[in-house]
Symmetry: C2
Subunit: 296 residues, 2 copies
């Protein structure tokens, strides 16, 4: 199949490579040519604009950072909408606002272009090993057509409903992820200031009901104090902004999500927005003793 991929970062690159491994003919577009290099090396063809890429693709995947990036790539000058034929499918896998996902889908539909919002959970490791969780919104028959490609990327693949339903699901996912990360950061900090070894506390917690992927993954990095891996934590501010906007639209208070959003805000404010989410530990610690007192 002739596929296109736009957004070749820490998530998009391994995803595009996984699609190529299954024999699909890949075209890419990247604002920075160096981002496309590993794909071109693997046999992908590079195009000068989303428009040109769309003109030769049956299905175009986008994995760009923000809602306005998606609008730009899909609807902007030299965007997908200018090049795509009727029947082309655009699959946006980035985490963006459900409202924007619906609006872009509407604009593309007016040109006979189908769209799915299909954000993912699983991080860079999930992208590499094709074990992502994919939560899709859009028409059921379009979802079914893209399903064989989703199966090249992930393991848990669920059609959640109409346009925007994938993004709404992702917002719920990110809320749970980030509040869990706050719980882990507070727990491991309390352990440390109380004189315990956070590594052993994490170990024993992994055997009980407080166990989570967050404790395993981000908790491990918190214990090691290695905040370099993974996705830039500043991006989670966007995710919580989406979740809280959804909370506002529905009239639902989300107090823990709001609290964690302010901690991510502080993380960015302290110049650590480029670090992994595990750096949240630093923000929790910043509201604690400079030198732990001895309580045991």
């Amino acid at each position: 199949m002739k596929l296109g991929f736009i957004g070749l970062g820490v998530m998009g690159r391994p995803m595009a490579l996984n699609l190529m491994k299954h024999g699909h003919e890949m075209g890419v577009y990247a604002r920075r040519p160096e981002a496309a290099a590993p794909l071109v090396e693997a046999g992908a063809q590079c195009y000068a604009s989303p428009r040109e890429l769309a003109a030769r693709s049956e299905i175009v995947f986008t994995m760009v950072t923000t809602s306005s990036d998606v609008e730009q790539v899909a609807l902007g000058e030299n965007g997908l909408v200018e090049g795509a034929r009727r029947g082309t499918i655009v699959v946006d896998m980035e985490t963006i606002s459900p409202a924007v996902a619906r609006a872009v889908a509407g604009r593309l539909a007016a040109q006979g272009i189908d769209m799915l919002d299909a954000p993912v959970s699983g991080g860079p490791a999930g992208a590499q090993h094709a074990t992502l969780s994919i939560m899709a919104g859009g028409k059921a028959h379009i979802f079914e057509r893209v399903m064989p490609l989703f199966e090249c990327l992930g393991k848990t693949i669920v059609h959640m409903g109409d346009h925007g339903a994938g993004q709404t699901t992702k917002a719920c996912n990110q809320l749970a992820l980030l509040v869990t990360a706050e719980g882990v950061a507070e727990a491991l900090t309390l352990a440390r200031v109380s004189g315990l070894d956070p590594a052993r506390v994490r170990e024993v917690m992994l055997g009980g009901i407080a166990s989570s992927r967050v404790l395993e993954l981000f908790g491990g990095r918190m214990v090691e104090r290695d905040f370099t891996a993974g996705i830039e934590s500043r991006l989670y501010y966007k995710d919580l902004d989406i979740a809280l906007d959804l909370g506002h639209r529905t009239g639902q208070a989300l107090p823990a999500a709001a609290l964690v959003m302010q901690h991510i805000n502080a993380l960015v404010g302290r110049g650590c927005g480029g670090e992994d989410l595990s750096a949240l530990l630093n923000i929790v610690e910043a509201s604690g003793p400079v030198t732990p007192r001895r309580v045991m």
Copy 2:
């Protein structure tokens, strides 16, 4: 081995039965005789007081509800301290204050009685299937002596340090557990008010990085709206009180833990303290729309 067990509730009963399955001679004490009945049926002998039970036991386990219950059973009138010989070991497996654990251990040590604080995580299912996570504090050689018995009860068994270290670890565990539960409750509520099926949202979340034992267990009950199973949620107020007191003693702010403690407070205030922790969903929903608006 001649063992004793005090506190035969939803956790203690299956734990005592598991110890008996390994051929140990079990003696029990219960304020309410009916609580002892299943143990007596299985061959345990019932004693009239902790004192009498201690007089014939090499190791006595306690699984009673609060710090003051532990003080009463260990040090009160007709308490363990009055009956136990030198060299007897008391193993308290309830979640209590680390400070009280240290104080009781000190008082018992003055009579030549050794103590371990060894609280657990894993819930009633973990107690039944002997898959508990056990976090122990006290002297290392005493921990080693009790280890074969711990292995009848749990899988992940870690010696965390001196007296109180087990309880401090448990406080960290409960903090992470409860903040995670808040995140799951907010995420599933946001899903519902946004028009998604919370069951499918949970399903797809279980495949990604937001996955946790809490999402699996309590999230499942939230989706089913079945709040009857498990441990009474009012008990978590005590747990968070212990964690926040530890935060106060160390000068460590724990904002998410404080927020969730107020939600557990509201849960008890609304008369649902006897329900499972999954009832936290009701408190999150109570700060939301009476009738969800349509946003998709």
